[in-house]
Symmetry: C2
Subunit: 196 residues, 2 copies
Amino acid sequence: MAASTQSKRNTRQRLVDASAELLARQGYNATGVKQIVTAAQAPFGSMYHFFPGGKEQLGAEAIRTSGAVYEQLIEAVFEPAPDPVTGVRLFFAGAAAHLEETDYADACPIATVALEISSVSEQMRQACAEVFESWIAAGSQRLERAGVTPERSRELITAMLAALEGAFVLARASRTTTPLLVAGGAMAAVVQSELA
Amino acid sequence: MAASTQSKRNTRQRLVDASAELLARQGYNATGVKQIVTAAQAPFGSMYHFFPGGKEQLGAEAIRTSGAVYEQLIEAVFEPAPDPVTGVRLFFAGAAAHLEETDYADACPIATVALEISSVSEQMRQACAEVFESWIAAGSQRLERAGVTPERSRELITAMLAALEGAFVLARASRTTTPLLVAGGAMAAVVQSELA
DNA sequence: CCAATACTAGATTGATCGCTCTAGCGAGTA
DNA sequence: TACTCGCTAGAGCGATCAATCTAGTATTGG
C-alpha cells in the first residue's frame, strides 16, 4: 500500500512538474498533452485518470505549484540582503543572471500563461491571479517588517512585481538583461525614497 | 490600375489589420490562419499570395503595424500633458480605463506574442524587439526635451515600459486596474525625483 | 483583341490537437 | 485462490492545424 501510494504520488507529481516546466517555457497553447506525458515519462492513460478535467485542470495545478515553488525562491533570494533596497537590486540582478544562463527561456513561470489564457479560461485565470496575489502578500510582509505601512507595502510590491514581469517581456524579446537591471534600479530607488 | 492597386492594398491591409487585432487579443498560437482570413473577409488563397512566408510572415508584419499604430497613440496621450510627471500618470490611467472598457481584452498588442514566440521564431522575436525599441526611442526623445540626459531618459523609459507591460499582466490575471494605477504612481515618482 | 500577370477560390493534404475508450495489469482483501 | 480496484497502456476518434495545389476570374500591357 505504501509502495502503491508512493508510485501514484510520483506519477501524478511528475505530470504536474513536467507541465509546470513546459508551461513556463512555451506557454499553454504551445504545450501539448502528449508532450507533457512524454516529458513526465507517464502513461497517457494516467493523465486523464488523475486529471479528469483534462489539460485545463492539470495546467491550473501546475500554475499553483510553480507559484508555491517560486514564492520559496523569492524568500531565499531576499533573505541574505542586509536591507530592502539592496534586496530589490539583488533580486532583479539574480533574475537577470538566471535568464541569461537559461538562454532566455526561464523567466516568470506563469506570465506567458496568464496573458494567453486569462480571457479564455476562468479556471486558469483564477489560478494565475491567486499566485500573483500570494507573491504580493509575501513580499508585502517583508516590507512591513522594514517599517512600511501595510497598504503602502502592497502598492510598492505590486509595482515591483509589475516592473519585474514587464522587464521579463522586454528581456526575452530583446535578448538583453538590461531591462531587468534598469527596472531593478528604478524600483530600488522607489523603495529607497519610501524608507527615507 | 488605380482600382486594382486599391483592391490589392485593401485585401493585404485587411489581412494585416485583422491579424494585429487577433494577435493582440489571443496571442499567436491561439490564432488560426482560417480565423484571420475570415475576420479579414479575405479569400484564403490571397493570404498565401501576399504572404508566401505564411502565418509567421503575416504575424511579423502585423506586429510591426501594431507597433507603429501604438507609437502614434502614445504620442497622442502624452501630448496634452503639461509636464512629464502628469503625462506618466495620465498614460497609465488611460491604459487602465481602456483595459476596463474592453473587458480586459486590449492590453499591449504585442506582449502576449512576445512571450509566446520569442524562444521559437527568430523572425517574430525580432519584430517584437524592434517595436519595443521604437517605443523606447520615442519615449526617450520626449523625456530629453524635459531636460533629462539621453542615457538616463532611455533607462527611465525602459523601466516605465517594463512597469506598464507587467502591470498589464497582473491586471489581466486579476481583472483589476489597480496594478496599472499603482505602477503608474511609482513610475511618476521616479520621473519626478529625476526632474527635481 | 490577345496573352500575361495578379488575384481569388476552396478542396485537399498530412500532421497534430485534446480526449475517449476498451482491455488488461498488478497489488491488496476476503 | 478469486475478486476488486487503482492504475497503466495505447489505439483511435473527430476536429482542427498550417500549408499546398489546381482552377478559375479579373485586370493589365502590348
